[in-house]
């Protein structure tokens, strides 16, 4: 069987192949990595009716252009919405469709205020070798994903075997966009900060800055820098996803997927697992507060978060609801019996 997939005609700003990450190697200094917004990764798999551990393209800033080769390719777009068209006709986010050979999917800039990280999924996932158990790109160490690097024009993304044939499916997102409150647990070094500093941390409105990447996001705020009571020269220690570090300038950095496994800055708080993906999707300029919660509340929130992820596959439904939808489906190869067999599911 000949290879089938997408050729990158024009690369986005920082598109990389990511899956659910590479846990288990923190003891060797290997970043866990994986999609910054795992919700979007699971959602894309649900729409395409496939396993959530397959790899997709993570898009940042500008999406790029992708042309199908070797045969028709089912795709889905999730996460932050980018301007998207297929041979010039608009396509919808959070919906599966088909790219016929020679057709070009053009993904422009991210829609204002939509988020930061978008995901382009292929039916069957992206066939790249698993390195240390994962298909995620470790950009710093240059391995995993597609040759360990960001995608470039000319790269061929080969799709895995795609058993399911359904397209024209979408889902209704259970998630609140752009939270104003992000829940945290106090961090490992919270005790190094005076009670008044901790109180100020919870009362402060933070602004997301453009200084961000897959490793972390820098926050800004009005007021004096946050300081520890004594001057700290911490021995480098293990860090975790969502740690809120306070570096020398007193302005927090929230650690994300590609965080280095050890660090020496004091950690004032840690964002709860359930709230981290939405925080990571906040566009520059967005404002929010941190709210300390109990460990029990964090676990309760995690339970709900996992329940929502687990329910995505069941929440998938056909796009078709109105005449507008028919016109839309006609424009993106979805009529002609490709989906007819699935229409009576509802």
């Amino acid at each position: 069987m000949t290879a089938r997939g997408l050729i990158v005609r024009q690369a986005g700003l920082a598109a990389s192949v990511q899956d659910l990450g590479r846990p288990g190697y923190q003891r060797q200094g290997v970043a866990e990595g994986g999609a910054v917004d795992p919700r979007a990764l699971v959602a894309g798999a649900a729409i395409l009716g496939q396993a959530p551990d397959l790899a997709a393209v993570e898009l940042v800033g500008m999406g790029g252009q992708y042309e199908a080769f070797g045969g028709a390719v089912r795709v889905a777009l999730t996460g932050a919405a980018f301007k998207a068209s297929l041979d010039g006709r608009p396509v919808r986010w959070n919906t599966s469709f088909v790219i016929e050979p020679g057709q070009v999917l053009a993904l422009g800039g991210c829609e204002p205020d939509s988020g930061v990280y978008g995901y382009l999924h292929l039916g069957g996932g992206i066939e790249v070798p698993r390195v240390l158990g994962s298909r995620s790109t470790h950009l710093r160490a240059v391995f995993g994903g597609h040759q360990g690097r960001l995608l470039r024009a000319g790269d061929r993304l080969v799709a895995g075997p795609d058993a399911a044939g359904k397209v024209g499916l979408t889902f209704d997102s259970p998630w609140e966009e752009h939270p104003k409150v992000v829940r945290v647990l106090w961090g490992v070094q919270a005790g190094e900060f005076a009670p008044a500093e901790r109180e100020r941390f919870t009362a402060t409105t933070f602004t997301v800055t453009p200084a961000r990447d897959r490793m972390g996001m820098k926050l800004d705020f009005q007021g004096a820098p946050f300081v520890t009571e004594r001057s700290l020269t911490l021995i480098s220690d293990a860090v975790v996803l969502g740690d809120v570090q306070i570096p020398g300038d007193g302005k927090p950095i929230v650690l994300l997927a590609d965080r280095q496994p050890t660090g020496g800055y004091p950690r004032l708080a840690t964002v709860i697992t359930a709230d981290l993906p939405a925080l990571a999707q906040l566009p520059a300029g967005a404002r929010f507060r941190f709210q300390p919660v109990s460990e029990a509340m964090a676990v309760e929130a995690l339970k709900r978060y996992r329940h929502e992820l687990g329910g995505l596959a069941a929440a998938v439904r056909p796009v078709l609801r109105s005449l507008d939808d028919v016109a839309y489906l006609l424009s993106v190869n979805l009529i002609d019996g490709v989906i007819s067999g699935d229409m009576d599911d509802q």
Partner: protein, 246 residues
């Protein structure tokens, strides 16, 4: 030695950090390595992974499988089970003889380190290789190794300027420790040399070679020998002599 009992800190909703104290001595590192091995061997359902550091053990877990307070009870019970600070070094430790080409383009900070230490460059090289240094932690980047401790004279602060990218194999010093890199990384440490030996190399049958508790002896080599060894390293050889520590 008087020391505080180890402390448990919640590190987010999916990890406990078992902290053996703000110390960098062998007793603490032995305790960390022994406790990490104990937790792993227990094989408790719900533990996702553990990561030992210089002075702590991170225990990542799934709180929906293993409740945080239940895991904390188990960790506390294990901590009081014995005097971890009296632990022996781990079994099967190895001593690696790591060839280093000091100075020149491979060690751009050698001259300044010599000036700060009040030594000649030759004395710095000799002193750096004088005693075996213990691997205390792997962290920061794949195969990024922290070793120590060097003599008091080596208590250098980190550089004010971070070098944006130093190559794999770089040997850098600060705060009485040496770090070895295996990938291209930024660093604020003083780069004094480069080794053809890589602790992490995916091209090799065994990608990771070093373990906490191992010892490194740095051996000065010339530029020509470094080039020869680098070619052999690229062919998959470890290019560091190794012997068991009795």
């Amino acid at each position: 030695m008087i020391s505080e009992p180890p402390k448990l800190h919640l590190a987010g909703d999916t990890a406990w950090l078992v902290d053996f104290g703000e110390r960098t001595d062998d007793a603490v590192n032995n305790a960390v390595i022994a406790f990490d091995a104990h937790v792993r061997a227990a094989g408790l359902a719900g533990i996702v992974e553990t990561a030992p550091t210089i002075r702590s053990v991170l225990v990542r877990f799934d709180p929906l499988v293993l409740a945080p307070e239940r895991l904390a009870e188990r960790l506390q019970a294990w901590l009081t089970e014995r005097d971890w600070l009296a632990s022996e070094p781990p079994a099967g430790r190895k001593r690696w003889f790591v060839p280093v080409h000091y100075g020149g383009e491979d060690g751009p900070d050698l001259a300044e380190v010599a000036a700060r230490l009040g030594m000649s460059e030759a004395e710095v090289i000799a002193d750096h290789g004088r005693a075996a240094q213990r691997v205390r932690m792997l962290g920061f980047a794949p195969g990024f190794v922290y070793t120590g401790m060097l003599g008091e004279a080596w208590a250098l602060p980190r550089r004010n300027q971070v070098r944006a990218a130093v190559p794999p194999g770089s040997i850098a010093v600060a705060v009485r420790q040496t770090v070895l890199t295996s990938t291209t990384v930024p660093t604020g440490w003083w780069v004094i040399g480069k080794s053809p030996f890589l602790a992490f190399d995916l091209e090799r049958e065994r990608p990771f070679l070093l373990q906490a508790g191992d010892e490194l002896v740095f051996e000065a080599i010339g530029a020509e020998e470094a080039a020869t060894l680098l070619a052999r390293a690229h062919a998959g050889e470890a290019v560091a002599r190794v012997e068991p520590i009795a």
